[in-house]
Every structure is written in structure tokens, then in C-alpha cells.
């Protein structure tokens, strides 16, 4: 058996690949559901109903999808330039901390700014924090050739411990009765709700806007062209006179900023403060979403909504039938692997 490169990839194959991957995933997932002793059909019906089937389900899914779109975009743009940023989780927390540091700590210190000024400052601080966190690994990669996957992964642990230290110390909320949570943002900085009686907030609009913006950036701008060229072949790009390491740094700043923004919007839109469990792996899931979307910023939105629906649906399914909620994580992992194979098959055909 060997692989043979297809002369061109058809549009139909590109559209079909994600669908085939999802179908395959659900098939494999059903084996696990059956193993857990639940009726497969009913479990899946509950999963989909729990994720998309009601007003509550849909709004919850969109709430979850908001940070996922942003971390998905962060991964997609970085992977496009072959910068394997697996540290979106850490960047998200760094962004969240920075947001609270700007938007929560100054209260009562005599330092007063109007919310109109403070809000952009807060967002900028969060994006800067995320960007700077990824700048380190990106520079280590271009200067010393240190593999960025390992450094960003290790940084996740370091950032989480730093968050934990700060929540015990400098940024602890004195009114939280010993819970490790940060001081809260002032009310004026919290995002408005998009839909009444739900948790969907205007951050979703920002995420959607950014996905279009990023698509346009990749497609129509010089930087976008350079990112794609570096991703397609760094040596060819360098030969064509492109500043490969400068592009890498720009991509790192962009990707880190997106992940940092995800953290700020979570704080401003949903929680109001930072806790250690505010992100159930949004960073890592972002990588999966980027792959599901074949690194296309517009498709990231669809992939994020799908994954968010799975996560929300799995919660409600596991309450109804005895299937552990971890089924959602398994499904996401299988989806990633199936998608990788499906993408490959759009470019290669198997010959005997």
C-alpha cells in the first residue's frame, strides 16, 4: 500500500472531508457509549438535544463557543505559519489575569478612570499579556532552534502555577471566603448579554468579527501572504526574500493576543473574576478546532460551535444516561485524529 499525491484537490472532497470525519467519530464514539452500557441511539439523541435542541442548550453552546473560536483562531493562524503554539491555555490565563489586574485592582486606590477608557486598556493589557507569553517561545525557536511545542506546553504549567500563586496572594479576593478567586471586575466593565436570560455575551460578536478579519488578513494582505508562504515552505520563503523570523514573531504576537483576548472576554463576559478552573482546556481544544477547520478562520467558527455543542451536550447526556462526561473529551480527540486522516486523503490517494 502506498500513498500517491493527487494532482489537485477537489472542492467536493474538501467539503466532504470534515463530514466524513465527524461521521467516523460518532461511529467510534458509539462503541464507547455502548461499552458504558447506555442505549446508543438515545444517548446520541440526548447529546445533540443537550447541545443544540433548546433555547437554553443553544445559548450555552454559543457561550462555550466564544472562547473556543478565539483559541481556535490563535492555533489556526500560528499553525498556518508552522508555529505550533500549544500554549493557548497559558496565554488565556495570562490574558484573564491582565484583564483583572487592569479592570479590578484599581478600585479604591484613588486611581479612577472612566469605563470608556478603562475597557480598551483592559482588552489591550490582556492581548499584550498573551502575546508576550508566546513571544518567548517564538524567539527561542528562531534564535536557538528550541522546539516551541515543548516550551509552550511547559509554559502552560508554569502559568497555571503562577495564577494559583497570585490567587492565593496579591490578587486574592478578600471577600471570597477563602475560595481561590481573584478580585472581580467592576460592573461597568462587564460585557452586555446578547440574549436576555442567558449567558451569551457580546464577546461572541467580537469572536465572529475577528474570524472574518483574520480570514481577510490571511487572504488579502502582504502579511497574510507571507504567513502562508512561510507555512508552505520556510526555505522557499526565505529564498524569495521574506523575513521569515520576523513573520514568525508577528504570527506569535497575533496568536498569543487572540488567546489572551479569549481570557479577557471570559472574565468580562462570563465569570467576572479569575478562577483556576475558568478554562476546562479551552487552549488545547483550540488546537483540535483549528485542525477540524483545516486552519481556515471562517471554518473555525463552525468547528468551535460543533465542539462546544458536544461539550455542553455531553454534560446533559451524562446526567440522563450513565455515560461519563469524559465522553466529550474522547469524541473531540477521536475527531482530531479522524480529521487528520480525512485531510490527508483529500491530498493523497491510497494505491496498492
Amino acid at each position: 500500500m502506498r500513498l500517491e499525491r493527487r494532482p489537485q484537490t477537489s472542492r467536493a472532497a474538501l467539503l466532504l472531508a470534515p463530514l466524513a470525519a465527524v461521521a467516523m467519530t460518532l461511529l467510534l464514539g458509539s462503541l464507547l457509549v455502548a461499552w458504558a452500557g447506555a442505549p446508543v441511539g438515545r444517548a446520541y439523541a440526548l447529546l445533540i438535544e443537550g447541545g443544540f435542541g433548546s433555547r437554553f442548550a443553544l445559548t450555552e453552546t454559543l457561550t462555550r463557543a466564544t472562547p473556543l473560536i478565539l483559541t481556535g483562531l490563535a492555533a489556526a493562524v500560528a499553525f498556518r505559519a508552522r508555529l505550533y503554539n500549544i500554549g493557548a491555555e497559558g496565554q488565556l490565563y495570562a490574558g484573564a489575569l491582565a484583564a483583572v489586574a487592569v479592570g479590578g485592582l484599581h478600585g479604591g486606590s484613588g486611581f479612577e478612570l472612566s469605563a470608556w477608557l478603562l475597557f480598551p486598556l483592559m482588552i489591550a493589557a490582556a492581548m499584550l499579556a498573551g502575546a508576550l507569553l508566546l513571544l518567548g517561545p517564538a524567539l527561542l525557536k528562531s534564535r536557538f532552534g528550541v522546539d516551541e511545542v515543548v516550551t509552550t506546553l511547559l509554559l502552560n504549567f508554569i502559568v497555571l502555577l503562577a495564577v494559583s500563586a497570585l490567587l492565593d496572594g496579591a490578587m486574592k479576593d478578600p471577600t471570597a471566603m477563602g475560595w481561590p478567586q481573584s478580585v472581580a471586575l467592576q460592573d461597568a466593565l462587564q460585557l452586555d448579554k446578547l440574549v436576555a436570560r442567558s449567558r451569551v455575551h457580546t464577546g461572541l460578536l467580537a469572536a465572529l468579527g475577528l474570524s472574518v478579519a483574520l480570514w481577510a488578513l490571511l487572504r488579502f494582505t502582504t502579511l497574510g501572504f507571507e504567513i502562508r508562504a512561510v507555512g508552505a515552505g520556510p526555505r522557499a520563503a526565505a529564498f524569495a526574500g521574506m523575513p521569515v523570523s520576523a513573520v514568525g514573531v508577528q504570527v506569535a504576537l497575533l496568536s498569543g493576543a487572540l488567546a489572551g483576548l479569549a481570557g479577557a472576554l471570559e472574565v468580562a463576559g462570563r465569570t467576572g473574576y479569575v478562577t483556576l478552573d475558568m478554562s476546562p482546556g479551552y487552549g488545547t481544544t483550540g488546537v483540535v478546532i483549528a485542525m477540524l477547520a483545516m486552519l481556515n478562520p471562517l471554518a473555525v467558527v463552525a468547528a468551535a460551535v460543533f465542539v462546544a455543542g458536544m461539550l455542553v451536550g455531553a454534560d446533559s447526556m451524562s446526567r440522563a444516561v450513565a455515560v461519563p462526561t469524559y465522553i466529550a473529551d474522547v469524541i473531540v480527540a477521536i475527531a482530531l485524529i479522524c480529521m487528520l486522516v480525512a485531510t490527508l486523503l483529500t491530498q493523497y490517494r491510497v494505491r496498492r
Binding site: 532552534g145 528550541v146 500563586a165 473529551d329 480527540a333 482530531l336 490527508l344
Partner: protein, 295 residues
């Protein structure tokens, strides 16, 4: 120190084996979780302790086979595939744990390996047989890689697969073998945590040790002997960190949050990577998929 170093030694040897044959295996973090879980469940179900180790190795091998299929046969990105394996192995372990033990707060315990009290060697007699296994495996892997035809072949497909093919070697089979064997070692590394260091399975027990192993292999310049050294050095810092925590406040007269100490191992791993990165001599074909007739 030796106790902390054992899973690192085993895991690092596993990564080393894969990378020498030209395949990055970022699945290690998840494979260690799966090995820890599978070994523990096997013993809980009545298997012997060494039976548990064997089950862990087999579990690792299965995930290794999947990784090899994705990266060697299909030539997918080794980074992304490895992460996929980690996500899959971790979530499957959590899922299987919840299916097997639906309503327990603390996991049931097993009787882990006992220290080899009868051994006449002074330091080793406080350790369990699994540590001894790890120590024996270091020269064994070194011998296998450097002194046997199989080792030579593995190193060849890691450096220049096209030339290896020209010598009549089967690149695909060799890479499969190295990834499966290395992943089995990773599974054993995970099982040390449940069968020797602790007596039960907890969700976050691997906690980045796999990623540390990946860093250690670079630090060791892909040599088993140096890998042992790196793992010991690393374990020393981890032990130091624990000591400093216990001496809270007494360390250098400063009152530092304990999280700073916990960070130390991860920071050390990054520092180690940076220190050696300049003169690191990667296996030349690492992360490059090999497809016949394609350049």
C-alpha cells in the same frame, strides 16, 4: 531522588528510542496516563504486579502502533498526531475509569511494589524493583542502539531513510518497531506511578512528566547514558523543590508562595532546552515523514 527519577528515566528512554528512528512522539503524556491506569486496573483485577507492568507496556504499544500508523504510514504531522494521541489516551483513561468505578470519591487502592529490602546495595534497597528495571534498561537500550545491527538500522532510518532504503532496509517496519517499543516503555513509565510510587490512579498524576521527558531527550543529546544523568539531575531539582517547600519560609529567609517551588521543574526543563539547543545534533530525519520516491 531515584524514586522521582524512575518514571523520567523510563519515559526518556521511550522518547529517545522513537526519536532516534526519526519519529517525534508527543503522545507520551497521554501514554503515561494510559499506562498508569491500565497497569493499575490489571493489578486491581487480580493480575500480579509484573502482570500490571506488562499490561501497561501493551497499552503503550497499542497507542504507539496508532501513532506509527498515523505518522509513518500516512506521514501526518508528528506534532499534531502526538497531541491527538495524548488527548485520546488521557480522555480514554478518564472515561474508562469512570465507567469502571462510577461512584467512588477516592479510588480503590492496591498493594504496590515493596522496596527491595533484602538487597545488599545501600541506596537501592530503599527502592522498588521497577527502579532497578529502569536502571538496567539504560545500558540495555544503549547497547541495543549502539552495538547491535537493529540499533544501527534504527539510527539509520532516523538520520537518512533514503540511504537506509538503499541498503535494503525496510524503513516503515523499522520505524513502526521503534515507535511501538518506545511507547511500551512510556506505558511502563506511567505504571510506575500507580504500581510503585502510589497505590491508586488519580486524574492528574502524570502532570507534565511526559513533556519533561521530551525536553530531557534533547538535553541528553539523544544518548541513553546522558538521559539517565539528565533524569537524575532533574529529579534532584524536584526533590530540592519539595525540601524547600517543607522548609517554608526558612529557605533563604524568604516567604515565597509554594507554587514558585512547584514551577521549578518546568522552568528547569525550559532552561535545559535552551542551554543545549545551540549544539543539539538532532537526528537528521526527525519529524520528516518518509514516502518512497518523494523528496
Amino acid at each position: 531522588v531515584l524514586r522521582i527519577a524512575t518514571p523520567l528515566i523510563l519515559g526518556t528512554l521511550g522518547v529517545l528510542l522513537c526519536e532516534r528512528a526519526g519519529v517525534l512522539n508527543l503522545g507520551i503524556e497521554g501514554i503515561m496516563v494510559a499506562g498508569a491506569f491500565a497497569g493499575w486496573v490489571a493489578v486491581f483485577q487480580g493480575a500480579s504486579l509484573w502482570g500490571g507492568v506488562a499490561v501497561a507496556a501493551a497499552t503503550g504499544a497499542v497507542f504507539g502502533l496508532l501513532h506509527a500508523a498515523l505518522t509513518v504510514s500516512l506521514g501526518l504531522s508528528q506534532h499534531v498526531s502526538g497531541l491527538g494521541i495524548t488527548l485520546l489516551a488521557t480522555s480514554l483513561s478518564s472515561f474508562a475509569y469512570r465507567v469502571s468505578f462510577p461512584k467512588v470519591d477516592s479510588p480503590p487502592t492496591i498493594t504496590p511494589f515493596a522496596p527491595m529490602a533484602g538487597l545488599p546495595v545501600p541506596v537501592l534497597d530503599a527502592q522498588t524493583p521497577m527502579t532497578l528495571l529502569a536502571l538496567v534498561l539504560v545500558p540495555a537500550v544503549a547497547w541495543l542502539l549502539m552495538r547491535t545491527p537493529l540499533g544501527l538500522a534504527w539510527r539509520m532510518v532516523g538520520e537518512n531513510p533514503a540511504a537506509a532504503e538503499g541498503q535494503g532496509l525496510n524503513v516503515v517496519a523499522l520505524r513502526y518497531g521503534a515507535v511501538v517499543a518506545g511507547s511500551a516503555l512510556m506505558g511502563v513509565a506511567g505504571s510506575f506511578l500507580t504500581l510503585s510510587a502510589f497505590n491508586a490512579f488519580y486524574f492528574n498524576m502524570v502532570n507534565g512528566r511526559g513533556w519533561v521527558c521530551v525536553a530531557l531527550v534533547v538535553f541528553a543529546s539523544w544518548r541513553p547514558g546522558k538521559a539517565l544523568l539528565g533524569a537524575l539531575l532533574f529529579a534532584f531539582f524536584d526533590a530540592l523543590q519539595l525540601r524547600l517547600q517543607q522548609a517554608s519560609g526558612g529557605a533563604f529567609g524568604l516567604e515565597l508562595p509554594f507554587q514558585l517551588y512547584l514551577m521549578l521543574p518546568y522552568v528547569m526543563a525550559i532552561v535545559a532546552l535552551v542551554l543545549v539547543a545551540r549544539r543539539a545534533s538532532y537526528p537528521q530525519a526527525l519529524m520528516k515523514p518518509y514516502r518512497k520516491g518523494e523528496r
